[in-house]
């Protein structure tokens, strides 16, 4: 390797250094400290022995598996629904029509709005005595809040899903739209000249091009929802609560002996999301091959 090459290589690593420092230092560093605590290694609390007990305690507990299921199902449903709505939206937004600029703008509005704000808006709308219930009451369709379906603090987590849908449909939609606009109309036009039907153009030309974007945007959404704390805490049932809620509540308990358990839940959460990630990448590769893409 020549001196020139060596300098070049050094420069690249120097460019990467701050990012590596911050992310490996903070993220991976924090992860390692957390992993240590989950194994019961907490010198500050006088705990030095390493044990898997905190994991075993969790894995034999019914509540843990219920909680994991709740976490997964909220994340899975909201991702699936957002994706199913977002993709057609992206196609609609691609066309230019009268009012399309307004629609485009409206579609972007949810992007910068914090989840907490959305949560408050959704509660005041869909609670049993919320504005929608009042609307129905003023139309004479119901007389008591109890007659309105329970959408907040409910087992199915409808309000939680609504918050995520409101936030994530535009996110996935805009990512897909961005790719659609990069692709442009040329491929489709070419396919049309070659006699492809509308469905064929979508299935064999566009889909392979946008599938990576759909899959990776939905993966980001899934990971975000899977790890989120405040929305299920504010709008969900007390039990079973999603894993991040459980973990952080244990962490914040005055009893320091609960910390390793909190960390163990967090580590398991991390493990499950990595597992999911790996499976998802497999799926992605398979889907791409099947759809005839790269």
């Amino acid at each position: 390797m020549g001196r020139q090459d060596w300098m070049e290589r050094l420069k690249i690593w120097l460019m990467l250094l701050p990012a590596l420092l911050v992310l490996v230092g903070l993220f991976s560093g924090g992860l390692v400290v957390g992993l240590g605590q989950s194994l019961g290694y907490m010198p500050v609390a006088g705990l030095h022995s390493v044990t898997l007990q905190h994991y075993l305690d969790l894995l034999v507990e019914d509540a843990f598996w219920q909680s994991l299921w709740v976490t997964f199902s909220i994340a899975f449903t909201s991702t699936l629904l957002s994706t199913l709505v977002a993709v057609p939206c992206a196609f609609l937004l691609r066309d230019t029509f009268r009012g399309s600029r307004l629609v485009n703008f409206l579609f972007q509005v949810p992007i910068p709005i914090p989840h907490l704000v959305v949560a408050f808006g959704v509660v005041t709308l869909v609670a049993q005595s919320g504005v929608l219930a009042r609307l129905l009451a003023s139309l004479g369709l119901l007389s008591e809040p109890g007659q309105f379906p329970a959408l907040v603090f409910d087992r199915a987590g409808v309000a939680i899903q609504l918050v995520y849908l409101w936030k994530e449909i535009p996110f996935i939609g805009l990512v897909v739209l961005a790719v659609l606009q990069t692709v442009g109309p040329d491929y489709e036009a070419l396919a049309q000249t070659l006699g492809a039907t509308r469905w064929q153009r979508f299935r064999y030309v566009l889909l392979p091009l946008i599938l990576p974007a759909i899959l990776s945007a939905s993966m980001i959404v899934f990971a975000f929802v899977f790890a989120s704390y405040e929305i299920p805490l504010l709008l969900g049932v007390r039990f079973p609560a999603p894993l991040p809620v459980w973990s952080i509540q244990l962490y914040r308990d005055p009893d320091l002996n609960l910390r390793p358990g909190a960390m163990a839940i967090g580590v398991l959460l991390t493990l499950f999301s990595i597992l999911w990630l790996v499976a998802y990448r497999r799926l992605m590769r398979y889907a791409l091959r099947a759809s005839g893409g790269r």
Binding site: K11, L14, V44, G146, F239, R252, L256
Partner: protein, 413 residues
């Protein structure tokens, strides 16, 4: 290609400086000073800031603290009060524990804490508190420390490690448009009402403190009084009464709001009652209903009652952490809180609407007349009625066992 790497050198240097700068921050200094003379305290406190960590969920209390405590203490003693709102004071105990184990013995970020019950017990037993300091406070003479309910906080001896500032007593709030003028004042009558009106009753999910105290009442009901729970925790006694409590709660569960599928947060119950989704709420503050009506939060059909067998009462205290940066300022604030002048503001139904924590008989004749002249408000019970029905709190360990039992036997069932 050079450009980004020049920039990069700058950024790297900045980040490294930042990180090393933090690491070089001074390590543990000496513990906070101990005072023996009140004038020394006043001198040391002048011109300082007190970081007072307190529950921040009520905009009314936030404003009142700033106006009636912050402004006065600044004007009279030159002490600035920085109110730090927190969602649950247990977090701060947690934080002090962490700081303690990390060896942060001075220069801590908390100077004063609004505290009582289990949190006090945890903090005291883990040596997280500064003091004892109560004897140093000149206004401590207005507090009746001979009263066991004052000298013990949920059964934990106070021993000078915290100073009171408000008195609380549990009351039930109800909507007389739904319930009528004769609410169910026994637990049997309450259960009957709940069964007859499905979906109209609930209580906050434990670990919320209001939900927790509701369940404590049921233990007293099961045992026919508070006596068994005032001593040290005894598993056999707990096991004797607990099944009856869980039976009661699981028995009414299908008739609760949402059929007991979930339990609300205390804050959410305010909204539920205001909109008629439920017919009852509960509060540790007997004046809450009147104040909420005045604030437009409750409709004016809300009233309060206490159970025939009584309701639990306790005191709110303030304590100073072991590593407080400004104990002198904290002492000045603690002293102002039990000043008769402040206590009369606090007991004014039109202002704070709390219950006085100092002994009214120790006030001047003029002050006693002022107190007697207060109009308690449309939904508030007279102080004498409340006092006659006040019950002592159990020891902290009982509370923990009851809360754990509720989660396992009621919530997760």
């Amino acid at each position: 290609m050079n450009t980004p790497s020049n920039w990069l050198v700058f950024v790297t240097a900045a980040v490294l400086l930042l990180l090393s700068g933090c690491a070089a921050a001074p390590a543990g200094a000496a513990a906070p000073p101990v005072y023996t003379d009140w004038d020394d305290v006043l001198a040391a406190a002048k011109g300082t800031t007190v970081h007072w960590y307190m529950w921040g969920g009520s905009d009314k209390i936030n404003t009142d603290v700033d106006n009636d405590i912050g402004k006065t203490v600044l004007a009279r003693y030159g002490v600035t009060v920085n109110r730090v709102p927190v969602a649950d004071i247990a977090e701060i105990i947690n934080k002090l524990l962490t700081e303690s184990s990390a060896g942060v013995t001075a220069g801590g970020s908390v100077d004063l804490l609004w505290i009582n019950g289990e949190n006090f017990k945890t903090a005291k037993s883990a040596d997280l508190l500064y003091g004892p300091f109560v004897d140093l406070l000149p206004n401590s003479r207005f507090v009746n420390w001979e009263d066991p309910a004052m000298a013990n906080d949920f059964g934990t001896p106070v021993e000078g490690y915290e100073s009171p500032w408000g008195h609380a007593q549990f009351v039930m709030e109800y909507d007389n448009a739904q319930v009528g003028d004769t609410p169910p004042t026994t637990f049997e009558a309450l259960a009957a009402w709940i069964r007859a009106h499905p979906g109209k009753f609930t209580y906050p999910a434990i670990p919320d403190f209001t939900g927790s105290v509701f369940v404590r009442h049921l233990f007293y009901w099961a045992a026919g009084g508070p006596t068994p729970f005032l001593g040290d925790f005894d598993q056999a006694v707990f096991d004797r009464y607990a099944p009856q409590v869980w039976d009661y709660l699981n028995g009414i569960e299908p008739f609760l709001w949402r059929e007991g599928e979930t339990y609300p947060e205390a804050a959410a119950m305010t909204d539920l009652l205001a909109n008629g989704e439920i017919a009852f709420n509960m509060s540790y503050s007997p004046g809450n209903a009147s104040l909420s009506i005045a604030q437009g939060i409750y409709p004016d059909t809300i009233r309060t009652f206490v159970f025939e067998t009584g309701t639990l009462a306790n005191n709110n205290y303030v304590a100073i952490p072991f590593n407080a940066s400004n104990p002198a300022g904290a002492l000045v604030v603690a002293n102002w809180l039990i000043d008769p002048e402040m206590q009369l503001i606090l007991a004014d139904p039109a202002r704070w609407g709390w219950l006085m924590t100092v002994d009214p008989t120790r006030l001047s004749a003029a002050q006693q007349a002022q107190l007697a002249g207060y109009d308690v408000g449309v939904a508030t019970l007279p102080a004498a009625v409340l006092a006659a029905k006040a019950l002592p709190e159990p020891q902290g360990e009982w509370v923990a066992a009851m809360e754990k039992g509720w989660v396992e036997q009621v919530l997760q069932k």
